[in-house]
Symmetry: D2
Amino acid sequence: MIIVLKKGATKKELNKVVEFIKNQGLKVHISKGAERTIIGAVGDVRRLDEDHLRSLHFVEKVMRVLKPFKLASREFHPDNTIIDINGIKIGGREIVVIAGPCAIESEEQLMKTAKAVKSAGAKVLRASAFKPRTSPYDFQGLGIEGLELLAKVKKKFNIAVETEVMDPRLVETVVDYVDIVRIGARNMQNFDLLKEVGKIRKPVILKNGIASTMQEFLMAAEYIMNEGNAKVILCNRGVRTFEPEMRFPLNIGLIALLKKESHLPVIIDPSHSMGRPDLIPPICKAAIAAGADGIIVEVHYNPEQALCDGPQALTPVVFKRMMAELKPIAGAVGRAF
Amino acid sequence: MIIVLKKGATKKELNKVVEFIKNQGLKVHISKGAERTIIGAVGDVRRLDEDHLRSLHFVEKVMRVLKPFKLASREFHPDNTIIDINGIKIGGREIVVIAGPCAIESEEQLMKTAKAVKSAGAKVLRASAFKPRTSPYDFQGLGIEGLELLAKVKKKFNIAVETEVMDPRLVETVVDYVDIVRIGARNMQNFDLLKEVGKIRKPVILKNGIASTMQEFLMAAEYIMNEGNAKVILCNRGVRTFEPEMRFPLNIGLIALLKKESHLPVIIDPSHSMGRPDLIPPICKAAIAAGADGIIVEVHYNPEQALCDGPQALTPVVFKRMMAELKPIAGAVGRAF
Amino acid sequence: MIIVLKKGATKKELNKVVEFIKNQGLKVHISKGAERTIIGAVGDVRRLDEDHLRSLHFVEKVMRVLKPFKLASREFHPDNTIIDINGIKIGGREIVVIAGPCAIESEEQLMKTAKAVKSAGAKVLRASAFKPRTSPYDFQGLGIEGLELLAKVKKKFNIAVETEVMDPRLVETVVDYVDIVRIGARNMQNFDLLKEVGKIRKPVILKNGIASTMQEFLMAAEYIMNEGNAKVILCNRGVRTFEPEMRFPLNIGLIALLKKESHLPVIIDPSHSMGRPDLIPPICKAAIAAGADGIIVEVHYNPEQALCDGPQALTPVVFKRMMAELKPIAGAVGRAF
Amino acid sequence: MIIVLKKGATKKELNKVVEFIKNQGLKVHISKGAERTIIGAVGDVRRLDEDHLRSLHFVEKVMRVLKPFKLASREFHPDNTIIDINGIKIGGREIVVIAGPCAIESEEQLMKTAKAVKSAGAKVLRASAFKPRTSPYDFQGLGIEGLELLAKVKKKFNIAVETEVMDPRLVETVVDYVDIVRIGARNMQNFDLLKEVGKIRKPVILKNGIASTMQEFLMAAEYIMNEGNAKVILCNRGVRTFEPEMRFPLNIGLIALLKKESHLPVIIDPSHSMGRPDLIPPICKAAIAAGADGIIVEVHYNPEQALCDGPQALTPVVFKRMMAELKPIAGAVGRAF
């Protein structure tokens, strides 16, 4: 960490900083310029309080050289993390597709969709029993009843299943029904929830917040990993911008950056980011070409009657066609599909 | 609600929409243009599923005319909501200042700060026992021990107190210790938490999310109010932008807009938005001039040693000076202070 | 266009709107609801003044159904525009790569780079003689001298060349030296410059502004086309967001959207968007997978000594490797390379 | 400037940097940590090429300590710049209001509005003869004819006048007709235009770009000042965000920050930022409370018939009322009005 003192800082003030750093067991390097003094703190500065130093009135700037995340960093864990779910490997050579309806609506809906997505090549069925909705007047999901339907479908079709969890009180319950739990964008910094899913031993899909930075995203993963659960799947679901034509434009460069900075698998959610089915196939192709490890996409056998997010779901027919189109892209970047 | 059909939509498709609307007990008005047909749905369309209509492949556009929030809207409740906390009235003629440290650190810290802010004119002491921190390695707050210190200070100085609640499991506990509970920006769409504070009967300060729209902000208030708690105080804490010089630039126009669209009191948080003490007094003056009902600001008797967010806290001396400067502004807009 | 009157608008006010629309030679459809009256204007509403209608105090909302751009729209021109530059076809089946240094620095630099990029498969050499720099103290380009070097290299290597034009007074001069002129992001809404390049008969690469919407982008193309120059190449160069790790995150979905809404060729600028070489190959792969027609990328044989934007340039070695990696992606989406 | 070398950088690489810095006549300070070496460049680093250093593959980070602007900085010019226009002083104790129609439409319009705004206390009449319009099909202004009307009104009412200039070829012409020229948001980085207005000797109102940072804004002012024109008035006109309810939310903190970092006068444009008249009075009050030196606001005697931006103009009646309301705010912050 580098601390730049303001012009005219006194020797006493310099010492105050030096002492503070040394008290944390770190070494100090001082560089005196004609106008400003620069102090370097050397050692494991991860726990050094940047904010405290910044608050000193004679400090001009404080700059971190090291990244604040550790468990999630590739520096700490050079090899790719490959998460194994009964033989489905996320983060390995194979691209994994997770597909299904936004919300669980009925047994018939779930059965039909599960059959369709499995036959088209999806390895995991997604479906929410608890729905975060902007309006309290909108459909909030079937709850536990939905989870039971999910378990039934899982058994019948022998397909892995995943669902969202929003409430820390329900983590223990939800985890029994599914193979993967999902944390949505609105809860990326719901730290009590992150800690709770950090205590389970099943994989967690973590979506980025709609205005989170890469660093905040990895720090949220760090919360989960710090509790002992290293099976985190990062999901790029786009961010809010000023563009009215798309819901949450997806920063494709972030896929490559996350793969570089972290060892965790990276997938994308084209449905919530684009918010319109016509842009889903091209964005999925782009993601795979850029190095994504998978996709979580909404498929509904009758989008026109979906109880939530209908307009952004693919029909099984379009999904199947897209799966066929993704295959050669995966091949072109040396991935299996 | 207005539904525009695509060029070439058939009569059968038109009827599909008409029926759907009528089935919800609404009236339909049809306007046929040379190229496109436009359908108006008339009546209480609040529960009409916009998403469903949008998902129909022959629908070009769906537009809401009415706002989706009701309980929080001024249309529904034309008079200002004035929240009374043992005689302190938020939302009335008087500007209310809430001040205190970011986090509760010790009894001494809390006592000193409470004394300082009260004597400078603050009506409520703010202090967090549970801290949402981006890093799991940062100080997370004193927890219940902190709440007990808060209760002690409340009694000793006869000052109202408020604190943040992050975990729905702790709402019941926290509410016993304080006069106001606070929902932070990260939890604006933590719907299970919103429902939980909707069940209590104490006022709730609701901060906007760092990338939330005005409408989403009022819909979050609607969640709380829909559970029966109408005592919501909206807190404008700024949004994330590309400007590196400030943490969360504050959209001052939003104060006036919220006061127009809603009857709820509106305050600002200058500390988390600006992130630097030098910009706090001017932004507070601006907020009061624009019609804000109050301010929640961080004051620490020793910002240099604060365990969190030190750099953005005012010292008691600066706070006192600011309070004196705010008085004439309040007078200039016909408010008491 | 749809005009919604406010609750309580009088018959006289309704007539005012009706007359205004009819005076523009358009038809009117009126739909009276229980609370609100909705007016539809039918015909060629492109020149109907939306702002005027919005300014009427008894009007609640004005909504356009048709897009405001015409010449640039696919509706108007269903087939892809293919721009032919001495046999190089942009917008056709082949992916076209434009490469070269940010700025023209010297004859040696230009010769070396031209040779390298041509041999790696680039079809056009890019290089700026006039540089838009944020600071007046930074290198501003070689000017006319640079253009002459460019012409020399063009002749020697028989390669098409392109350069940026910033000043409307220089358009006539610049156009003589190059095969394509480029309008940078800062000038996307420099309307006098757009009109000037609208008068030439050579292709124009138009970059989006750092905070422009898709519609504004296409309206800028419309300015050029409206003057008679239909050879516009849209260049997606990313937008400004809050993410500190990248300069201008690139919205890949915009490629697919532009291809859908417009018939113009779409390329990307990975160098200015990412601002770092490590993310350029993955973003280029993603762009081609998503349907881009080409790439304009910075290559410098010695990035460490580049006079501008050095850090974002590829070395010829990396460029060559990337070209090899892009080939299979192009094949996977049915494009030649 | 501080340069951090990557882990494992060699002594030879270190020397490369050291030499480069010394060659610019600067001093070097080296600080060797256990893992990384940090180099400080001391002296006038304003012209030191940050990009070059960043491009070295063994450099991890480059950080500027000093701001890149000089002429515009308060450090360089500690006292407020007060711009005198025939006795009207912008940047002094008095708040200056500039008002008038968006565009010049007719002599009658200009006369009526000039009379109204002058009698209400405006010191300068604003009106555009050249209009930057997003669509080529919209009204583009009266051009020279408009300037002549402006000159006529200036003489008749003895009021200072200002207008926008967009084309560098027209600066010389425009400057003869008006007391102040204005550079719009779209042209904040139209560097050829900036240089052109840097050569005149009349004041320039410079608006920020819709996505510019504070630093880029001051660098644009630096361009003008570097050509010899120190009479720059900074105009905060808001930035683009995701909020659909307002056109360009205005960051009020930026006013205070600009006043701190620069000696130039700061005004706001509430009309283009809010885009709706109801939010203009509160935002103007806020701006004055935060330290703004003036306001440039659109007033039209008949907004409903304005040829551009009608919806955002105040009527003379509302303008007069607002002027009365601003007076006590100015008094409350020690300013005259």
